[in-house]
């Protein structure tokens, strides 16, 4: 296999993607924005897994299978997350999570 792109580059991109997702999750006020940030982090992990698989053990199937499962779980999580956003909106009339802080201390 001709490795035009070194593994390290892909891992760096994945790490950067993770950090961007983290940035989103920490900086967005909107609950949906935070969920999107988390999705981005999960995608970074998928990239990691697939890259490790392709470059390091291309004959096994662990990496892609794992990332498929992660995609599935991410979908489930997003579904529950959006339902929760609706619940928050019904109760609070807002999805701005900075204002959702009745429980504290």
């Amino acid at each position: 296999m001709i490795e035009a792109v070194p593994l390290e580059w892909i891992l760096t991109v994945a790490a950067a993607l993770f950090c961007i997702g983290l940035f989103g999750a920490l900086s967005r006020r909107n609950a949906v924005g935070i969920l999107m940030g988390i999705e981005l982090m999960l995608n970074a992990i998928n990239l990691n897994l697939v890259a490790f698989w392709r470059y390091l053990s291309p004959l096994s199937s662990t990496g892609p299978v794992f990332s498929l499962l992660i995609i599935t779980i991410a979908a489930a999580e997003a579904a529950v997350g959006l339902a929760m956003v609706i619940a928050v909106y019904r109760a609070w009339q807002t999805v701005n999570l900075d204002t959702v802080d009745a429980l504290k201390g």
């Binding site: 999750a25 935070i34 004959l59 096994s60 662990t62 489930a76 339902a83 929760m84 999570l97 959702v100």
Partner: protein, 554 residues
């Protein structure tokens, strides 16, 4: 490291080995389906009927599964191999039991390298099933929901996820099990109540925290996967790269000191740290405990935490035995390994949990911080791995399991009693407990027993559990941590005694007696019996938890 026994194919004889899980799935689907045939109406009578039927189906089902699992485990009665009978009914039962117990705990046996069927799994299953049983019993009268079918199904699926979590010896299954546990719990915590502000908030926070923690966990797993994939020749066709034993084997062969592996391990500890709510991954728990209804809080704080601990133990001891170190925190000498990391976390957790509990005014929140502190004690059982003596390591895991059992019984009892109070009084602040002794002396005594057990007062179970786990930590040279533990126990007395003061000394706002609904009372009685029994006669379950043997050389 001996070669890893891997069953490549799933066989028919494996079915009894996962019988509890199969039964749980069947029960969950049954509950979901049966709800359709109920009378759906908006009047209260019809709703109560619906909830009652779903709940009783779940309770009975869980009770049966618990009994079957208990029989299967052979902890009460192990069928002797030569047992035989010619009389027909007896012969039939003997054969059923024999087939059942053939799927009982077998050390070192894993299904497809992913599912351990050992004593640890079995004991953990019993803990989860018991916790789920008691929780469901609490909900029969508490009625936290208008959609009982979904509610109990989610509860059962979450229990199933916990069983898988405890049994998993492979990262993909572990991850799926964590999600299977967590996602239903998010919904249970936040969605089923009458759309109150706090419930929605709790659910949202739980979800976001959990999802972020999963991302951290997964990032760690991907790093570990990268490590194992890198260590093997590229041409090898292997599909066991995420199995704990395989990782340990490769790490051992590699000198066990790769920064990729170490970093991955830290991420994984952080990811599981959220499930067990240790500092600094604890911050969701007070909010969620307060926002969710009492039975769900009881379930989250006990079963979910227990599952997290069993998984944490499995991951650390089976996947990362090469990174074990000492329990010392002295940076210069022999700090290192996950034992030191856990010792640090345990230290923070003990201090933080106990101190932050002091100023609380909400009982559920107070117990939330108290259960954070208990997580600190529980970590000591895993830290006991710092010693290399197998006997002491065994003591560590058996003390951990013992503590978990006691903690589950006590905490469900405590939350149940609080649930009774909040059902009658309508709030769960400490003030609402004022003068409980004058309104219902029995309930007050029960609650006091649970609180004293949490505080670790002899002869209640909490005392022996703490004592046993301190011993294990002491053997592992975590003396300083034991001292911190004892000191924080004394601090914790303060807030536990505040609760008792409210219950027994302060004057109630109204003298109307508090009634205990039947099924909740049943839960409390079962719990209190366990608390006394395990405290006075710990040998009831000590031989069982001692079955989880740690063999040398692992």
């Amino acid at each position: 490291m001996p070669s890893v026994p891997v069953m490549l194919l799933f066989q028919t004889t494996d079915i009894p080995r996962i019988l509890p899980e199969i039964l749980l799935t069947v029960l969950a689907l049954l509950v979901l389906g049966s709800d359709i045939f109920e009378h759906w109406a908006n009047d209260e009578e019809a709703q109560r009927e619906r909830i009652y039927s779903s709940a009783s189906l779940t309770v009975i089902g869980l009770g049966l599964i618990f009994l079957i699992t208990l029989l299967q485990s052979g902890y009460i009665y192990k069928l002797p191999p030569e047992a035989n009978s010619t009389t027909l009914p007896l012969n039939f039962f003997i054969n059923v039991l024999r087939n059942l117990q053939s799927g009982g705990p077998a050390s070192g046996h894993t299904l497809l390298g992913a599912f351990a069927n050992d004593d640890l799994t079995m004991i953990a299953r019993l803990i989860f099933l018991g916790a789920a049983f008691l929780t469901t019993l609490l909900t029969v009268d508490f009625r936290p929901t208008n959609a009982p079918g979904e509610f109990y199904t989610l509860l059962l699926f979450s229990t199933l996820g916990m069983c898988l979590m405890a049994a998993s010896t492979e990262f993909i299954l572990a991850f799926l099990a964590i999600e299977l546990t967590s996602i239903p719990l998010y919904v249970l915590a936040g969605y089923f109540q009458k759309q109150t502000k706090t419930a929605a908030e709790a659910g949202m926070k739980y979800l976001l925290f959990g999802a972020t923690s999963s991302a951290v966990l997964l990032y760690g797993i991907s790093l570990v996967y990268g490590f194992t994939a890198n260590a093997l020749p590229k041409a090898e066709n292997v599909n066991d790269l995420t199995q704990f034993a395989r990782i340990a084997q490769i790490a051992m062969g590699n000198g066990g000191n790769s920064s990729l592996l170490t970093l991955g391990m830290i991420f994984i500890i952080a990811g599981i740290g959220y499930k067990v709510a240790v500092v600094p991954f604890h911050s969701w728990s007070p909010d969620v405990y307060q926002g969710a209804t009492a039975p769900i809080t009881a379930f989250i704080s006990t079963a979910s935490k227990a599952a997290g601990f069993v998984l944490l133990y499995r991951v650390l001891t089976e996947a990362f035995p090469s990174l074990v170190g000492s329990a010392s925190l002295a940076l210069t000498t022999n700090f290192g390994g996950w034992t030191s990391l856990l010792a640090l976390i345990a230290f923070l957790t003990l201090i933080w949990g106990n101190l932050a509990a002091l100023p609380q005014t909400n009982t559920k929140r107070l117990l939330a911080y108290s259960s954070i502190a208990h997580a600190g004690f529980l970590l000591m059982g895993i830290i006991a791995w710092a010693t290399i003596q197998p006997a002491y390591r065994t003591m560590g895991i058996s003390s951990l399991l013992y503590y978990l059992i006691v903690y589950v019984a006590t905490n469900i009892g405590a939350f149940g009693a609080l649930g009774v109070v909040s059902l009658a009084v309508g709030g769960d602040d400490i003030e609402d407990l004022n003068g409980l002794a004058q309104r219902n002396l029995g309930l007050a005594v029960l609650l006091a027993v649970f609180i004293l057990s949490l505080a670790g007062i002899p002869p209640l179970a909490g005392f022996f559990a703490k004592f046993y786990i301190f011993m294990a930590a002491w053997q592992a040279d975590a003396t300083w941590l034991v001292i911190v533990g004892v000191a924080t126990t004394i601090i914790s007395l303060y807030y536990y005694l505040c609760l008792l003061k409210a219950i027994f000394i302060l004057q109630p706002s109204s003298s109307e007696p508090v009634k205990i609904p039947f099924s909740m009372g049943l839960t409390l009685v079962i719990s209190v019996i366990l608390v006394f029994l395990l405290g006075i006669y710990p040998n009831v379950i000590l031989p069982i938890v001692d079955k989880v043997q740690v063999t040398a050389g692992l």
